[in-house]
């Protein structure tokens, strides 16, 4: 089978049985897997809904604008039939999100209008001819299945005239006649990657066909509309009638998604700060891709429910009979359980501890109770973060810190005592009345059930004060800088700087008192809410934080893996023969190592050009077998062929029997 290129798998008779037995063995310890996965699907579908709405909201405004633009363009305009309506879509630098974006756009266009939508990407359009060929193909192949009743093949128009070549837009015209699409929307997905000559030629051609084919062009632009214009000649620019559309940038969307998924108050599984930091950094530094962010998040959920057998307790309405003894055993081994028990031991609640250890039933009750309360604490943290971010936003504190980084700080338990929080509190102290009013009204949006502040009383009191104030200037608190004045006095040839509070008016005093109360209350609120989530009992069940699975699965280092396998095969094989001596550095070469590993290490030592004959003698000297040189040679040849297959060496013509080194380890 291995030499067949493509085939459909069919099991050999002999294979069927043993694999069956194997399977039952594997499944046994995972007996609650199905339930856990079910829980995962529930949890994730909730998240997915959030994500979809967030994404749609992010896209909606621009996409609707584009849609309107196309609708307008589709109306025949007798005055202006000499220009192609063109949408310039500034999609930002994250190229990876172009594909999905244009796909969504296409779906909307197809649903919302009576237009044909065709996407062209740079990779399929190296020149005008191929571009047109692809265009015709894309349009007509889709038509072929739409019109099954129509027996004419796509190239039928050729019957009336000379036979058309496969890149002739005549095909498109024939197709257009049959389908009567209102207009043909052609999206140039990555305009920067197109050769500008191709673009110019394309525009010229489309323009010349405009009287027969109603084209609408959409250009995806990563840089700016100006630089796009610069690439086209003045002549072809005259053929276009452009309108610019700005797409929400991916980092904004990510921020929105973050607050909708990870930092949202109502999620069953929380994501830990380390993991969040990791995926956000990856977004910032490497990919800038919404899909990737979502995949990472999904994989975190998957990993938690798949691998952590205590995650079964996250299931909604789980009953004692549904859970297995294994899960309880696992809970008893959690570090947070131990901490909890030790605390109880300190307070001499030995009875309680015994019950926890002995009775699964009792433990189950405790777990469900504690999970609920821990969930509440975690939700409170998320709300507090949203609150804090809102405060900062309405106070316009610079630098503006995105919600995600506030959240990460809170989730790692570093928020209390952080300079960030102190700074915010200080500016609350100094807040003038007009801003305070603004703040209170903006905070209304965040208010949720766990939130104990009575904003409305503050509001009424404040309004009272403002009404009583005769001055048009806003009220100021006593901490406001404007109420301080510096006085310089010279005493005994020394300059003394002293601060003096300006005398406060009655209203200001009352206002200061109000602000002071508000400040203290918020301070209290933050101090009680921002606890360290890792300290919570059962935080292992509620929070998923390991980074490693994510790194391994999304950011692999294949080259490193191969280099490691070849330079220290012991790391993988774990055999007795070629191991431990490698620890102290150089003595790693030994005859028992796999031939390719041996040859690779010799390869590492050599220069950029390698004499195979010398390589062979070195190999023979180390790994040689006295009895049969042909066996050693066979191994040598195989190892050399493998190095070539891996792309480590290539033939060299510089000298006879030499090969060129292609890769240096560790680069």
């Amino acid at each position: 089978m291995e030499h067949q290129r493509c085939y459909i798998y069919s099991p050999l008779e002999s294979e069927v049985r043993p694999s069956k037995r194997q399977r039952t063995n594997i499944v046994q310890p995972q007996n609650l897997l199905a339930e856990r996965l079910q829980t995962f699907r529930e949890a994730w579908s909730h998240q997915e809904k959030q994500i979809q709405t967030t994404l749609e909201n992010a896209d909606r405004t621009t996409q609707e604008k584009i849609l309107d633009f196309i609708k307008v363009a589709a109306q025949p305009d007798p005055e202006d039939s000499t220009t192609i309506p063109t949408g310039l879509i500034i999609a930002g630098p994250s190229i990876a999100s172009y594909g999905p974006y244009f796909e969504r756009l296409g779906r909307r266009i197809k649903d919302g209008t009576d237009c044909a939508y065709l996407v062209l990407s740079s990779s399929e359009s190296p020149n005008l001819k191929t571009l047109l060929k692809n265009l015709v193909q894309k349009a007509t192949s889709r038509a072929a299945e739409d019109d099954d009743d129509e027996l004419l093949p796509p190239g039928a128009s050729s019957r009336n005239g000379p036979k058309l070549l496969n890149f002739d837009l005549g095909h498109l015209q024939g197709w257009q006649k049959r389908n009567r699409a209102q207009s043909i929307v052609i999206a140039i997905q990555d305009s920067e990657a197109f050769d500008s000559n191709v673009l110019v030629e394309m525009i010229d051609l489309f323009h010349s066909w405009l009287d027969r084919l109603p084209f609408v062009l959409l250009f995806g632009i990563a840089t700016s509309a100006e630089s796009f214009e610069d690439r086209l000649s003045g002549n072809s620019l005259r053929y276009l009638k452009g309108q610019k559309f700005d797409v929400t940038q991916s980092d904004e969307i990510i921020e929105k998604l973050f607050s909708a998924t990870i930092a949202s108050a109502h999620v069953s599984l929380r994501i830990g700060p380390n993991f969040s930091r990791r995926i956000l950094d990856r977004q910032k530094d490497h990919v800038q891709n919404v899909q990737d962010f979502l995949d990472s998040l999904k994989y975190a959920y998957m990993a938690h429910f798949y691998a952590n057998c205590t995650s079964i307790f996250l299931k909604d309405g789980i009953s004692f009979t549904h859970s297995s003894p294994d899960a309880f055993e696992a809970v008893r081994n959690l570090p947070s359980f131990r901490r909890w028990v030790e605390d109880k031991l300190d307070s001499l609640e030995t009875q309680e501890i015994r019950k926890l250890l002995d009775s699964d039933r009792y433990l189950f009750d405790k777990i469900s109770q504690q999970l609920r309360s821990s969930q509440q604490v975690l939700s409170a943290i998320n709300i507090a973060v949203a609150f804090l971010s809102n405060v900062r936003e309405s106070l316009q504190i610079t630098p503006s810190v995105p919600l995600s980084s506030l959240w990460i700080r809170a989730a790692s338990g570093e928020m209390v005592e952080s300079p960030l929080l102190r700074e915010t509190m200080l500016s609350i102290k100094k807040i003038p009345s007009n801003k305070f009013l603004h703040l209170l009204s903006s905070l209304r949006n965040v208010q949720e059930d766990h939130f104990s502040l009575e904003l409305d009383t503050y509001r009424t009191e404040l309004e009272e004060l403002v009404k009583n104030s005769t001055d048009s200037a806003p009220l100021r608190s006593q901490h406001d800088v404007r109420n301080d004045s510096l006085r310089t006095t010279v005493v005994a040839q020394k300059v003394l700087l002293s601060k003096h509070k300006a005398a406060l008016s009655e209203q200001d005093k009352a206002y200061s008192e109000l602000v002071g109360r508000f400040h203290d209350e918020i301070q209290d609120y933050f101090n009680t809410t921002f606890v360290d989530p890792q300290e919570l009992f059962l935080s292992e069940i509620l929070i998923y934080d390991p980074k490693l699975p994510h790194i391994e699965v999304f950011q692999p280092k294949p080259r490193f893996a191969i280099e490691r396998a070849l330079s220290t095969p012991h790391d993988y094989l774990g055999c007795n023969c070629c191991g431990s001596s490698g620890r102290d550095g150089e003595a790693a070469l030994s005859a028992t190592q796999p031939a390719t590993a041996l040859l690779y290490q010799l390869y590492l030592e050599s220069g950029s050009l390698i004499n195979v004959s010398d390589l062979w003698s070195a190999f023979n000297a180390i790994g040689g077998d006295e009895d049969s040189e042909s066996k050693t040679m066979a191994l040598f040849q195989r190892a050399l062929a493998e190095l070539k297959y891996l792309g480590l060496v290539k033939p060299s013509r510089k000298k006879v029997d030499h090969v060129a080194k292609m890769m240096w380890k560790g680069l």
């Binding site: 999100s97 692809n134 191969i562 050599s606 000297a621 297959y645 891996l646």
Partner: protein, 573 residues
């Protein structure tokens, strides 16, 4: 001891004593202007341009350098630790600096110019290594540092000159101390980038001229015979690795079900893993809804992309065969076929995604432009599950961000250490690596056998080709035998050496005209027909060189070619 030996094989004739004399003289000469004028540099250059004493100086220094450089080339093993050799012979430890000094393009062009002038003047032709000579010329040309270095070294080198060491004291010391400590041997623990530059330093690749005799390499039969008796001592460990990966099968199935695709990487053939996984997946699917209790069996597409000639169309057709009813007519071109396939899947989604097992997604046959794009769009479709393996270390470079996000891969390290039995034709690829693909036909005997079955004309054409090729090889014979005393004057020699790398083989036109001259064929059509026969038997190879001219050659080495000519002429007579 080492140096004595070196001299012996470096220049066997009476050249040695004369050179020593010369060197002493020149050292004086070099020192003299140094003392006299501070504007050493310009003067030095002048002298060089005139091609007088300086050039001789270069040569003598060249001997110095060569003294150091040769042992490397004479070493039997490339891999012996080189640190020793440098220590006992570095009175003149400059070369690294010298080499470093000539990196710039300007210097390189200077070098060429100088080479020409000097080569013109020099009559003596026991120059051992062109590169080194050139570097010498250069070092004298401009770099103050190098001169300083050289000067500093000379006192140690030749006891004659201990007095001028005063001058040395006048120079800023800091600038040269670190340079002096530099040695041409690599230290053991260089960081990777340093190692790269070390191993790629100009003139750093000195390898011996040893060649493998054609008997050493095994042919197919010998290879398989040898491998049959061989058992790997790590069999149990490799089996353990496989079993370890086997534990993840259920996890992979879960990941596939959640809409991800899987990519396995790591050293070793991953065929066994995918085979076992396919069986496991098959087993799993037969117990799932659409197949359970029904006669329908799950369809898993397996593609072995490493097999030569894997074409995208075939891949797509195989996928289409399990998804699209057979009575529908499919488009012919891969991109259209793919679009059709995806559209069909979107409109009639199968009850379960179609699993595709793709071995070696990074194979040569799937790397060319349309393939990755098409594979990515396939993988992006929710009704398709892709499980693929990648063998090369740098396979992620095949995909840009867009493709990568389309693939939606989860990567798993699946190192197996298993030999790439199906993926590689070992004997063939080693032969190709060493430029001995002629062995494919079965060597000289095989060619003879083929030729005997061909008409007279074909044999004559082949003889012409071989003789022409030999003639070309003879012309730049200096390339292979560098210490060939009887070689043509160096200027020609060097020119050819640079060119010869690109002009292997006989030009198509030339060969055709020769063939016509000898009445082997009368038209180009006939000529082509004859060549085709050779091509079919893989007796000749052809390629376009940088200028676009087609070149043909017989993939044998010189000895074998000579043998061939003998055979052929013996047959003819």
């Amino acid at each position: 001891m080492v140096s004595a030996k070196r001299k012996r094989d470096g220049s066997a004739e009476d050249a040695t004593p004369r050179k020593l004399r010369a060197r002493a003289a020149i050292e004086d000469e070099e020192n003299a202007p140094d003392v006299a004028t501070p504007s050493r540099r310009s003067r030095g250059r002048q002298v060089v341009e005139e091609g007088t004493p300086r050039s001789i100086l270069k040569k003598t220094r060249g001997v110095d350098e060569i003294d150091e450089a040769t042992p490397k080339s004479n070493r039997k093993l490339l891999f012996a630790t080189p640190s020793k050799s440098t220590k006992d012979e570095t009175p003149n430890g400059t070369p690294t600096i010298v080499r470093n000094a000539d990196r710039s393009a300007r210097r390189k062009s200077n070098r060429k110019l100088l080479e020409r002038t000097i080569n013109g003047v020099e009559s003596d032709d026991d120059v051992l290594d062109e590169d080194i000579l050139a570097e010498q010329i250069l070092s004298g040309d401009e770099d103050e540092d190098t001169q300083a270095e050289a000067e500093e070294n000379q006192p140690e080198d030749t006891p004659l000159l201990d007095t001028p060491s005063k001058r040395g004291r006048g120079r800023p010391k800091g600038s040269r101390k670190p340079q002096k400590q530099r040695s041409p041997s690599p230290s053991q623990d260089l960081p990777p980038h340093e190692e790269y530059f070390w191993q790629n330093r100009p003139g750093g690749t000195k390898t011996s001229n040893n060649t493998l005799s054609s008997q050493t390499l095994l042919d197919h039969d010998e290879f398989f015979q040898a491998m049959q008796s061989y058992t790997d001592c790590h069999e149990s460990e490799m089996e353990f690795l496989l079993e370890l990966h086997g534990r993840a099968y259920d996890q992979w199935i879960f990941e596939l079900e959640e809409g991800f695709n899987i990519c396995l990487y790591g050293y070793g053939s991953k065929r066994t893993i995918t085979e076992r996984f396919t069986a496991h997946l098959y087993e799993h699917l037969t117990n799932q809804t659409p197949y359970k209790g029904s006669k329908k069996t799950p369809k898993i597409v397996v593609i072995n992309a490493y097999n030569p000639g894997t074409a995208l169309k075939e891949v797509l057709l195989t996928i289409a065969s399990v998804t699209i009813p057979a009575n529908l007519k499919l488009p012919n071109q891969p991109p259209a076929l793919m679009l059709y396939l995806l559209d069909y899947l979107t409109e009639n989604p199968p009850s379960r995604p179609v699993p595709i097992i793709l071995n070696s997604i990074d194979s040569l046959y799937l790397r060319k432009p349309p393939a990755p794009v098409i594979l990515a769009s396939l993988a992006a479709h929710p009704s398709i599950n892709l499980i693929c393996t990648a063998d090369t270390p740098n396979f992620p470079l095949l995909w840009d961000v867009g493709l990568r996000s389309q693939f939606k891969f989860l990567f798993h390290d699946a190192t197996t250490f298993a030999p790439y039995d199906a993926e590689i034709d070992v004997v063939e690829s080693v032969n190709e690596l060493l430029g001995r693909s002629g062995r494919r036909v079965g060597g000289r005997d095989g060619v003879g056998f083929v030729l005997r079955s061909l008409p007279e004309n074909a044999r004559s054409l082949f003889r012409i080709l071989v003789t022409e090729q030999l003639a070309i090889m003879d012309e730049d014979g200096g390339q292979t035998n560098q210490d060939d005393v009887t070689a043509t004057p160096q200027s020609k020699n060097t020119a050819k050496r640079i060119v010869s790398e690109y002009t292997q083989g006989v030009e198509y036109r030339v060969l055709y005209h020769k063939a016509v001259e000898e009445f082997v064929c009368s038209s180009e059509v006939g000529f082509r027909t004859l060549l085709k026969e050779f091509h079919d038997h893989q007796m000749i190879e052809s390629r376009k060189d940088a200028l676009g001219t087609e070149r043909l050659w017989v993939p044998f080495r010189q000895e074998e070619l000579e043998g061939l000519v003998e055979d052929l002429s013996a047959e003819l007579s």
